[in-house]
Structure formats: structure tokens, C-alpha cells
Subunit: 261 residues, 2 copies
Amino acid sequence: MRWIRYEANGQPVYGIVEGDTVTEVRGDPFAGYEKTATRRPLSSVKLLVPVIPKTFYAAGLNYPEHVTEAAKKLGREPELPPYADIGYRANNALIAHGENIVIPKDAGELVQYEAELVAVIGKQAKYLSENDALSVVLGWTIGNDMSERTWQRSDRTLWRAKNSDTFKPMGPWIETDFDLDKAETTVKVNGDIADHFRTNNMVHGVAKFLSRMSQYLTLYPGDVVWMGTDGWPRNLKHGDTVEIEITGIGTLSNPVVREGR
Amino acid sequence: MRWIRYEANGQPVYGIVEGDTVTEVRGDPFAGYEKTATRRPLSSVKLLVPVIPKTFYAAGLNYPEHVTEAAKKLGREPELPPYADIGYRANNALIAHGENIVIPKDAGELVQYEAELVAVIGKQAKYLSENDALSVVLGWTIGNDMSERTWQRSDRTLWRAKNSDTFKPMGPWIETDFDLDKAETTVKVNGDIADHFRTNNMVHGVAKFLSRMSQYLTLYPGDVVWMGTDGWPRNLKHGDTVEIEITGIGTLSNPVVREGR
């Protein structure tokens, strides 16, 4: 099942996508819903971020090639993270499929995408075993963990390097039927393939993260967990379009502009 | 004016405290409100966290003595943070005044309070000057940035060191009339004074943080910014009670229990 969040009469609502049609629901996929008689062409609705999380989790370094490349840039020996220690991103930075990524006017040239699988939590949970962990996932979406590398090195935290407004595109929707082991992630910049990797080639898998997190914290419906990226991405500039496809989910596409241009 | 959030008929509502009486409102202090005829004794209501933020900001190291002590523990030279780089905490960890701080069963003995002033944002804002920055603050509350120091050193992020469930007591209420320059912060453990410092003795003040943050990110009504702590705190253990008083706001008090005891 494919869930979208969109604007109807100025309010955010959820709908179910079947083919090119959206069926509006009362309620939401987390607390419960019923279908209404309202149907619209998918092409006619303005997509919103599929969920505003209570807590916005992100794995950070979680793919072998990305860890190796990141270490090279910093002149260090690569070291795979020994434990599934989760990190955080910020809700102010979320934008939907199709919306502009705005590079702050004083950012440098090293402004880069990171293509990420996103697990959307559907149930409140604590103390999950690895075997049970995936049962709390409602579905999956795509995230673009936009990063300004100069600030990432210079600042004491990741606040503007990764959480400047518009730096966290997420969407286009939540797909509940998804085969993680078969999935592949492809990034295109202006239509050209820029990166390609097996989505589940993670250092620590989704179940391992959710299980470990839940020993200390309660997962809530609507929480999102971004799973990290592989490879080392290219720079993006004013006028580019970045697309991230994960097979079985869809494509998250966003134009890039520089503030003040 | 003093705003509380509390439970009425199973729903969270806002009320205005005058003396020992709470007047319930329709709406909230952020989007607008009107007073109702419902009045209750303050002592009869169950206080909730005064606001669930869209984004939960925290300054981290922001007082000279705390920076010096933290450096000593790590065997490093103390270095005051050169810029107002904001950090983050997580909503899962928030609890209200009076609720139990629960130390995870496998936590070490170095589990400590950090007494913090909290600015509560009242207006959406970007590109604030330092002169204008405080005009977007609706009011002030108190935060206890509970920290497990072993995990803080060992983990790649602050996830369980600072964001385990119940590790972020915030409250008891939002006070809109507050003289920051006159305020003093006092911590008591089991009734004994454990720490005392001038609340505004910050490396980077509130206006400086808000102005710098807002060059890159939009502040939203309900966002909270925790301003850091001074000194170096004591360990807390099962059976303790920790109270943080900031003059002009009030007292945030929470019992401490260890999970499984």
C-alpha cells in the first residue's frame, strides 16, 4: 500500500495511491483511518512531507564505502562504526518531493546529496528483539541527507551542515510493501546516473538499529529513521535537479537553487 | 503570565496560572487562545511537558566553568566554543515536572543532572538580528539535561547518554515575565544545595544563539532552545530527588529511580 500526505482545502490529509488515483482517508495510517468517497488524480495533488516525526533519527555513517571515503577526506584511517549508535536530524529542514533545495548564500561549493532509505515507525514500541524489530515499521520512504562539507568539518555540531532549511527532502510517499533485500538505490543528477548501490549493504541493518535504540528509547508512530548512504556524492549547484530512486518505493526529486540567485 | 499544559478529560489543554488557580483556555499560547469559564486549583491538575517542540535545540557547552570541568574530565585543555553552534536533543526523552527520571538498568554510576534555562519560541522567524532576537521568545522554562557520562564518552553520538527515555525533564510551566539578567539557578539534591550560578553567565547569550541559528533555519512556535549549564554536577542515584530553581520562573522537581529496582 502506498500512502501520500497532501494538501486538501488548505489542510494536510492522507490518501492511498492506486495507479494514478488518490483516495482520501479520514484519520491517518498511524492512529487509524477510513476511506472517503473523495478521489483525485495523483497528478493534481500537492505532495507534502509524508510525516512530521516526533523524533527524527539518522544512522549517519552506515555503509562501508562511505565510511572509507569520509575517512580519506579527513586524512584518517577508515573505521567502521562498531555499534548501531543512532544520531539525529531536525524537522525544520524537511521538504517534500518536488520542492526546492535552497543552498544558503554563504555556503561553499561542497554541497552534496546523500541518498538514504527511511524506515517509518508505525507502532509505539520499547525493548524490541532484532527478530521483532521490523514488525513496528509501517513502511518505507526516501531521504536526501543534504550536507555542506565545509561546515560539517568546521562546526561543533551538524546544525547548519545538515539541518539548514530545505536540507532534508523526504518522500515522495510511504510504501508498505517493500523487499529490502532486493532494493537498489540510484542517484541521478540532471538525468545522469551519479551513484548506484545495493540499498541493504549496511554496516548495521535496520532491525539491529531499531532493536538497540528501543532498549533505551520508546519508538513512536511517525518517527523516522534515516539509514545512511553509500559511496561519496558529487557537488550540487544552482540549477541542478537531484533524483533518488529506490526500487520498490519510487523516486524523490528536488531542484537545487542557491539563495539570492 | 504563567502558562501550564495539563490534562483535562484525557486531553492536553493550556491554562493560565494566577496564584493557586488555573484558568483553562481554548487554543494555545502559540496560535491564539481565549479564556474559558473553567477554573481549577493548581494543586489538582496533572502537569504535562509545557510544549512538545517541532525541533528540540540545545546549546551544550555554554558556561565557562562547565567547559573547564568537562575538559579536565577528558584530559584536554579547556577551549570555550568560538561560535554559537546549536545542538539537538530528542522529544522521546521529555518528561514533566514531578515525573520519574528512570536510569536505564545498565547505566553506570555517573548519571548527572544539568540545570538549564529554556527559551520557548513564540513566533515563526528567520534572519533575526541580535537586537530583534528576544522578541520571538514567548517565555521561559527550566530543563534538566540528564546525562550518563560513560556513554557520553564511549558512544559515537549522544543518543542514550542524553536522550534515553525520561532524561529530559522540562517545566513546570512557561513564564513570560522574566528578568534574565537578575536570574540565578540553584540545584538541590534531596533538599541540599548542590549547585548555584548566575543564569545569564553564558559564553554565548540567548540573543546571539537565536540570531545565528535563524540565518540558516526557521524558528517555529513551540521550538525550545536549552541554554546549557554551569559548574560540574553530582551523581544521582535511585531514591534521590533533584530540584532546579531559576528565580523568576519556578522549580522543576523530579524523583530519580533506577530501572528494575
